[in-house]
Amino acid sequence: MSSKPRIVITGLGLTAPNGNSLGEFRANLLAGKARIAVIDVRHMGKHPAGVCDFDTNKWQKRKELRIGTRVGSISIFCAREALGDSGLDWDKVDKSRVGVYLGITEHGNVETENEIHNISQFGNDTKYWTHHHNPRTVANNPAGEVTMNMGITGPHYTIGAACAAGNAGLIQAAQMLQLGEVDIAFAGGVSESIHTFGIFAGFKNQGALGAHEDPTKASRPFDKNRNGIVISEGGAIYVLERLDDALARGARIIAEIAGWCINSDATDAVLPNPERQTECVHMALKRAGMKPQDIHIVSTHATATALGDIQECTALRNVFTDCPDTKINNTKSFIGHCMGAAGALELAGNLPSFDDNWVHPTINIDELDPECAMPGLVINHPVKVARVDTILNNSFGMLGINSALIVKKYGVA
């Protein structure tokens, strides 16, 4: 990608179940603090879930909150926080040159289920169905809510990419910046999935819904006794710019986008394919001009399903053989599976490693599954390393979508 403009991250805003800023999120990851609640899911009773507690009134009026969606609110909070972090002089930014690209796993389930419940209180008479339904459920909703809140008049849309969506949002933004379609991009991933019982019921009936008497231990990727996914909400939105633009305004550069790949299994709707995942990671490395040995942290996608974790580990063992400086971790063990936000949040949690050289672990491993054993897997306790210059962020999803995104510390070769 050397002939194309270099793309850098210059701002970040997030909300995760265990933190509403990068500092808080990172501190909890290094301290081994998971935060998973138990919520009452409509029709299903109590289940563990990752719940965000950001201040919804910080950037939105109460009327906006009433009319909009939960994921729109998450998106606005993250985008506004990212703007603040970026140091952009917003009043002087040409809003027509700003794009919003947000990855989503799904959208509209929450709002549709709510309306079905609403009209069930009125004999299922559709005249009680809200006129807000369509603007709430159009697929561009979260990105569109950001543009309305911030006065952005450039392009906005969401990227539906199952649980690979967080990476896909960032990749889309990088591509649009390289094409010159926009000068500034707000990009990442968002999710409100804990508010739809359908996601819980679907995973439960698939035998893939995580449970544990201690909710903070329910999400335990790579543990021999893992039993499925903990569904969470959240968001992480980045400010991306071309390097030259960032340098010209004296921006603080958090990281550089080095390479990426999105490919497809073309095999099964739910069972991942390690061969295609291996190809995806290899292609991302090739495009970044790197070898496996150049990667210092691999942020895994593993969701704590019985087969999915093994498949990813198989792919990683295929790629990262003889890589003594490569550490491997997992963030879902702290916050559950934030669905469309997962990839973007998991990358965020690792970015401070460029400065502090700590690698947060995957927690909740009481007994490592031998089939998930990998050299470099950081288990239960953070490790300090000599240097972290590169992060490879895996994010995979249903229908066989794979994504690998590589970011590097700015200024390293």
Binding site: R62, K63, R66, F122, Y128, T130, H131, H132
Partner: protein, 85 residues
């Protein structure tokens, strides 16, 4: 239910659908849209809440009757009376 009661019903609905608005000095004879930040979707919310909370239907042709608190009270009074309220 008196016309003043009906005005309060409408104000209570507006308080829910436009929670950022200051409703302490709403003039009953002035168009609501001229003194509050309300759009067409908000008026549809008023219609919906009248339907849900009070069983009162406002046909689309009559939406103009909801322009001010006074016109709301005049228009809705016989409908509330018909409901025995």
């Amino acid at each position: 239910m008196t016309k003043d009661d009906i005005k309060q019903v409408v104000l209570d609905i507006i308080a829910d659908i436009a929670p950022d608005e200051d409703l302490t000095a709403v003039k009953p004879e002035v168009r609501l849209r001229d003194q509050l930040s309300l759009d067409s979707m908000d008026f549809l919310d008023i219609v919906m809440e009248l339907r849900k909370k009070h069983g009162i239907e406002v046909p689309e042709a009559d939406y103009v009757q909801l322009a001010s608190l006074d016109s709301c009270a005049n228009y809705l009074h016989p409908k509330f009376e018909a409901k025995g309220k």
